[in-house]
Symmetry: C3
Subunit: 261 residues, 3 copies
């Protein structure tokens, strides 16, 4: 297996992503997703299309059992009710205890103070990755978005940070890469970002270097989005084609389409 | 902007609908939807396809923040748990205080007395529009469905009433129009009516006359349904095509297909 | 109507399934589904595609009203929160009192002891059918999966048992049949099994013999899956095609494709 914390050439990243995808398909990692009700179905379908096995329970008295039997955990804060909040704290603690990689997707922390405080508290439980957009980063990190601010936050929190948008930036404080793939239709389907983070969580289950796993997952997702946009006639068919593309994406496509810097 | 409470000719309505659609695409209004878990994903996708921006949280302690930052609010009573009920009262009150237009979709009030009483209480918070089918109107208004009964209810409650079914009737007490567009496949996809009401809510965010906004939203939805039925091979592909059609529907199609009386 | 508890020839089963499908389309039975939030939307769409009418509320204070007005009830234990647990007990009791057939889908009882105990308690409320996979059967019945063990469990509990997987086995203790239809893509779409059980529940509403109803529903679902796999390019388009296939499946297709033993 690839050594942790290597600094591969950018030109190697598409092949590394293809390797990670192959391992997800081969090992079928179990990914427990504590996610919002809008995203649950599409998130589960993205994981299944990629070859992973999702579970989605939110009940506080059984979530520890599910996390213990999973290979990785995603906590997403959308449609955040009381039971989910309680479950999130239990799940993150179990993940730490069982040394399962876990990922935080602090959806909409810029829209609600309650949510932002809760996310800040969860950050103390050491997720391997936090994925957010610019407004969410500013709310959570109390800083403008810049490469320096992202790096500093990653170093402070000992985690990888993925800032997603038209371009995705991924850093662990030392290494930084930007992914320029994607398609405008990706912003016209609900929960697409949430589901993409779930795919990254599956990659963390099979790749010990969180930065590489994140680059791999986000690159595959963005390239699959580009492939899906070709036959799509609008956002409805695009979402369907994206699932097909995730199941079919291969090394040649990743090499040909990747736009990284 | 169009003056409120005008009485346009029926033959002008397709163009007005095209104007409203264009404004939704241009202004991308934020629409907060307190809706049932069956409908959430499709509702969000309908809004995104039309160019609006959905948010869906149901947590009582953050819903006021979301409503305050939204341009319009939808409250839908399907799969109605305790937390949603509490959130609905807070959301409606916030909408009134912040003068945001809000819409009530009292799903299944004919099936449960608890739900009907709750809907009646929400009506006191002055929604701009209530959308329901015949059985739901009879339960809520305690009256048979007739044009007169609809008009009376609209005048009493100072709101627009949309009675949807094979034909949609929309009245604010003074003006009445019937939309005869649509397709039988529209009753074979779950939450289609819920999602259509969300589209209307987006129209209310960009058109101050609630009656015109409702006519525009329901006409666009029904015409998109007709367009989607052409390539569809069944209810599965129909739902996908409907999202594509909502993203693509244009003035010419609305003019050519509208059947109003 | 067909006499209860007949022992038809295996070669008659495709025609019986076609009859049951025709009755679902003609009678449009109401099926109340207490199911998990991941499965709700797809489950409702499967029921609508087949011609049934779904309702999905989970609120404990109104679920009895919905069950009383429904023709059959499904209780599925996925994403099992407190409110759903309370509602499940009320719903099962109402189904017994009103003599509505009800079905238990004890999802993931092998993953959580809390869930397994709850499922065992629900079994005392006499579902007409319990549908599960091998691991779930072992957890619930405390026995290895074998034809004998399935038969014994069915006789003990006076219910039909459907063990689903690559091959489905259905027994009521006396009769046993195996369905070998299906497609590998069926395991790549979330909640497909949950939705298939909902289709069976609709069949129980129009066929008094639970074993025949179960065979009919599972056969139709598996054959529709095979039909859907032909045009599908991956799991996304497969799910869409499956809904179309359920709406379109006919007697000739069932006769031609059924593989039973």
């Amino acid at each position: 297996m690839r050594a942790s914390r290597s600094s591969p050439l950018i030109s190697d990243l598409p092949d590394i992503a293809a390797d990670v995808v192959a391992r997800v398909r081969e090992k079928s990692p179990r990914v427990h997703c504590l996610t919002n009700t809008v995203a649950q179905n599409f998130t589960a379908n993205v994981l299944l299309a990629a070859g992973a096995v999702p579970s989605m329970t939110v009940a506080p008295d059984e979530i520890a059992d599910f996390v213990a039997r999973a290979d990785a955990l995603l906590i997403n804060l959308g449609t955040f009710d009381r039971e989910r909040r309680e479950a999130a704290e239990i799940a993150a603690e179990e993940a730490i205890e069982e040394q399962r990689p876990w990922v935080l997707d602090p959806v909409f922390v810029d829209r609600s103070q309650v949510r932002c405080s809760f996310a800040a508290k969860l950050m103390a439980r050491m997720p391997r990755l936090v994925r957010l957009n610019g407004a969410e980063f500013t709310a959570l990190a109390n800083a403008e978005t810049s490469e320096d601010a992202l790096k500093r936050y990653a170093l402070d929190r000992l985690c990888t940070v993925a800032l997603t948008g038209a371009t995705d930036s991924i850093t662990d404080g030392a290494r930084v890469v930007a992914i320029e793939n994607g398609d405008p239709l990706m912003s016209r389907v609900t929960a697409l970002g949430c589901a993409g983070t779930a795919l990254v969580t599956a990659c963390l289950a099979v790749e010990v270097d969180p930065w590489l796993a994140t680059v791999a997952g986000l690159l595959v997702f963005a390239v699959a989005g580009e492939c899906a946009s070709v036959p799509a006639g609008g956002p409805g068919s695009f979402a369907v084609e994206l699932l097909d593309a995730l199941a079919n994406v291969d090394r040649e496509t990743l090499r040909a389409r990747a736009r990284l810097r």
